[in-house]
């Protein structure tokens, strides 16, 4: 017992960090009702800023230079001390000012425009900020993972802290004290100042605060800045406590911080501070002492620490049920409408053959020989991404349950299938073969999906009492816990540390439909066709569910749980059904990912990749099947990403940044997602094509022809900085023509006042001519 207490004190440093992060989460929630999933990324940026100021004396602004010229540039790096380190205290001040900048930017550019968005829209905004900051950090600081400098009493250690026989670095105690001081300051601020009173009034009722003469927006700005500064303090002062810096680490540590913030009901700073320090100490005791005890179950050893926040979060939220703060916003917005799917058979009849052509090429390889190499891989990645997004469409789009754990559930299916196909026979390629029953792939795949459904339903139980963005917090904690409890747990996977689980190649009546193509690359057209057919089946299933009684009940629950219950809809059963079905879809996506990758590791299912998938599903259109397919096309390593990277080598490193910006813009400008954006355009041009005769075509030629010619020439000469080798020249000409038309339309749109439809603007121009 004495040991346990000694170890608990060791956890004070980590606890102090968690407490500081929790404080920032509480402040941001008080100020604007957002659970800020990007909080860790803000801390990360401040930590990198501090450490690079101390390394080479440069400030790196959280921007990219978007001007494609070498002469005119947007400044990104500012050198202060010509290569040498900056003074410690100056560096701290600059890093915290950087946090102020980021906090203000988040308010003005993201959360102020999103203040009336549906809860999911705000979540997507936060994920967008997270992606943006991580992407920018990768560009600005490179992929290096420096050891952060300790600011608080570096090197000093209590050799025998309070007589419990354990040495304790001064730094750990000091960080806990810093957390307590910050907490005290903020507590005082919210309790006794006019600003605090106004914030509390606005959190209770925004309208009331307006009537009292306070500006909720200015309050939100102040609170965002305070939240960002606490993140900055956490990032700068954490020193060596959490180990080497990298762009994602603090984002992972957001989960225990969320637990601490929820203990304080997202409103009490002192309780959040105490809870954070407590969680840090508890985790350290479990990690260092409890897992070493003989009574501790072996299979739990790897994941116990990460399961603590999950257990705390579920308990706190479940017991409080509805009691958590629900902010009274001026206007509560709903998720976008979910369109009724039509002509499903027609879509299948067009897209399956189209998919087959993309996979195999035209007969006799006439003009087009099929997608191969990286294109083939991007194609199957797109198809599998769409499968996973269908699971989000069903769960979040139809039933309104924000789950961030779907990718991890896909991982459960994949890992379980891999284990079921293993037979423990070592081979030269795989000398440490995993033991297992050695089942055939279809049986193993079905078992994997069944286990995924079981896990999904269990994770759905909290949803019976926890709603909206709080459910998102539970699922994010569950995703982190699954990672260490299952994927990284050698007791369950039987994998050697660091090795991957092998997945056999699937066969269909003797034909190899695995992903390995003829040249040894993962681009087999047969596998692509397998994916196309699976996706078509899954899209049909989801569409049919939406069209039938199940879909009506799903949407009824999404719209109004009380009214659904009064309509005789069993709300808990409907939710669990949705979790089960969504998990089956995710499980299928996981199985297909396993076949595509041929060997899987826990890195395939990291929880923040799951966040990004949710965000891409939202980007595509979270409420429709077509949105899932578009989301798949946009997804990381999908067709659009690979095309972009191919056409412009420099663009590749900006993919996460552009993804983040795209998410924020979609959440603000077009919450129904891209698919709804294209629908009217396709309809407009479809109707035009039906009506158009020679005269109309000639008119278009006169209007657009010159621009197309200019664009073609521009593309042929080369669009700086886009690449222009021989292969891509025809593509570049097409791109040039497209860009020329785009710029032309943009100019017309701006000249017509920006509010008119494109069609109307053209009609005006025609009338003038």
């Amino acid at each position: 017992m004495k040991d346990a207490i000694g170890f608990a004190f060791l956890g004070m440093g980590a606890g102090g960090f968690i407490a500081l992060m929790a404080t920032g989460l509480v402040v941001a929630f008080k100020g604007s009702g957002v659970i800020n999933f990007s909080h860790g990324a803000v801390a990360m940026y401040a930590a990198f800023t501090y450490n690079y100021l101390r390394l080479d004396g440069t400030i790196r602004l959280p921007l990219i230079d978007i001007l494609p010229t070498h002469q005119a540039n947007i400044p990104v790096r500012i050198s202060l001390a010509s290569g040498g380190p900056v003074d410690k205290w100056l560096a701290i001040v600059i890093s915290l000012l950087m946090s102020v900048l980021i906090g203000a930017g988040m308010h003005y550019l993201v959360f102020k425009p999103l203040r009336n968005a549906a809860p999911l829209g705000k979540v997507i905004g936060a994920i967008g900020v997270m992606l943006y900051l991580q992407g920018i950090a990768l560009v600005n600081f490179g992929a290096e993972n420096p050891q952060p400098e300790s600011i608080l009493f570096p090197g000093d250690v209590f050799t025998n802290f309070l007589g419990f026989g354990k040495p304790l670095p001064f730094e750990s105690l000091a960080l806990a004290v810093v957390a307590a001081l910050v907490g005290l300051l903020l507590w005082f601020n919210y309790k006794f100042t006019r600003f605090g009173l106004a914030t509390r009034a606005a959190a209770g009722n925004e309208k009331g605060a307006v009537l009292l003469g306070y500006s909720p927006e200015r309050l939100a700005l102040s609170n965002w800045v305070i939240a960002a500064v606490t993140a900055g303090v956490a990032g700068v002062f954490v020193g060596s406590i959490t180990g080497a810096l990298n762009v994602v680490k603090f984002t992972t540590l957001i989960v225990p911080a969320l637990g601490a913030a929820l203990i304080g009901s997202l409103s009490s700073v002192p309780i959040a501070i105490a809870g954070g320090i407590g969680i840090g100490m508890l985790q350290t005791v479990v990690a260092t002492w409890m897992t070493g005890q003989s009574w501790f179950p072996q299979w739990l050893q790897s994941g116990a620490t990460d399961a603590i926040p999950l257990v705390i979060i579920v308990l706190v939220l479940f017991l409080r049920g509805k009691a958590l703060p629900v902010r009274g916003n001026i206007q509560e917005k709903r998720l976008p409408l979910s369109p009724y799917p039509k002509r499903i058979g027609w879509y299948v009849a067009v897209f399956v053959p189209l998919g087959a052509i993309l996979a195999f090429g035209l007969p006799g390889d006439f003009i087009f020989a099929g997608l191969s190499g990286k294109w083939g891989f991007a194609f199957t990645t797109t198809l599998i991404g769409a499968m996973l997004m269908l699971s989000y469409v069903l769960l979040a789009g139809y039933v309104g349950q924000i789950s961030m754990v779907q990718l991890s559930i896909a991982g459960v299916a994949a890992f379980f299938m891999a284990r079921m196909t293993a037979n423990g026979t070592p081979t030269p390629e795989d000398p440490f073969a995993v033991s297992g029953p050695g089942l055939a792939w279809p049986i193993a795949a079905i078992l994997g999906i069944i286990v995924a459904v079981a896990v999904g339903i269990i994770l759905g139980i909290p949803a019976l009492r926890i709603r909206g963005v709080q459910l998102a917090v539970v699922t994010i904690a569950a995703a982190v816990a699954l990672q260490t409890l299952y994927f990284d747990n050698s007791k369950l996977t039987n994998l050697m540390a660091g090795s991957n689980a092998a997945v056999p190649s699937p066969t269909f009546f003797g034909i190899d439909i695995g992903s390995t193509g003829s040249a040894g690359l993962t681009d087999s057209p047969k596998f692509a066709l397998f994916c196309v057919i699976m996706l078509a089946i899954m899209c049909t299933i989801v569409s049919n569910l939406r069209r039938g009684s199940t879909g009506r009940r799903f949407l009824a629950v999404r719209a109004n749980e009380r009214a659904a219950a009064s309509a005789g809809v069993d709300v808990p059963r409907t939710k669990l059904l949705a979790f089960g079905l969504a998990s089956a879809l995710a499980g299928m996506a996981g199985v297909m990912t396993a076949f595509q990758q041929q060997q899987i590791s826990s890195a395939n299912w990291v929880y923040f990749a799951g966040l990004v998938t949710l965000a891409f599903a939202y980007l595509g259109g979270i409420t429709s099947v077509s949105g899932a397919v578009i989301g798949g096309v946009l997804t990381g390593s999908g067709l659009v990403a690979v095309f972009g990277a191919h056409q412009s080598e420099g663009l590749h490193s900006y993919t996460p940044v552009l993804g983040g910006v795209g998410m924020i813009l979609t959440a603000i400008l077009h919450p129904s997602g891209q698919s709804m954006l294209y629908q009217p355009i396709v309809q407009y041009f479809g109707n035009w094509l039906k009506r158009a005769r020679g005269r109309e075509w000639a008119g278009v030629g006169r209007r657009l022809g010159p621009f197309i010619v200019i664009g073609l020439v521009w593309g042929a000469i080369g669009i700086n900085p886009w690449r222009t080798d021989d292969w891509s020249r025809p593509w570049m000409m097409a791109l040039g023509a497209f860009l020329a038309l785009f710029i032309r339309n943009l100019v017309i749109l701006i000249r017509s006042g920006g509010h008119r439809e494109l069609g109307a603007a053209e009609a005006t121009q025609e009338a003038a001519a």
């Binding site: 039938g548 199940t550 009824a556 719209a559 009380r562 659904a564 309509a567 069993d570």
Partner: protein, 269 residues
Amino acid sequence: MSSLLQTHDLTVSYGGLHANSNVNIKAEKGKLTGLIGPNGAGKTTFIDAITGFTNISSGRAEFNGADMAGVTPAARAKAGLVRTFQSLELFEDLTVWDNLIVMAEETKWWSFLADIVKPNRTLGVEEQAEWALNLLGLGEFRDRLTLDLSHGQRKLVSVARSLAASPKLLLLDEPAAGLDTVESQQLGSHLREILNHDITIFLIDHDMGLVLSVCDYIYVLDFGKIIAEGTPEEVRNNPEVIKAYLGESAGEMQASEGDAAARALKGEG
């Protein structure tokens, strides 16, 4: 006399506050029973308690002879105890027609599997939904989203939706709130027509005019207690009721003036 709904000393407390205390009411089969009371009297709490949306602190509610304790709201609805909400609570993303169908259809645990194969099954409830839609004159709005309708139309949709469930007892929570005089009168005549289709109605409202004109029997609730009950004529002339509605001084008015007072108060929010 057979009563479809009966409460026995029904009490609902929030902390020390008794929102309903010892409420005893009966809704006779085939009749239109009314419950009136000023704002904050506990009317909605009462409807929440008998439909299972609020826990009963003591006493019990019997529907169709069965104690409703421990029965979920969804199961009560399926048993024929169907309610509307004061705040409408329509399914705004569904069409008017789908709003009715959700209410009407009976699903089994395997329905989702059937949907995957054949989504457009109607489960034989179209007739009931069609009837409800036409009864309230909503035929032309069939394929519109409820989002696009006017407030009065949405009120009617909420009544039609409840009727689609083939209720035994229809509990209407302030259906006249926000309606103008003409719409309110139309609603009254719709209610009388519904009664002819073997559906019992329990109407909750604070619109004296509507309640006095359509109900067969009326209970008056104030501060969570039943202060009066009887036929419209009896309630109209009850000095306690006038006092609750107009305050002490008005209570001194002659009983014969109560009628005029009630008319003057019609639509009082």
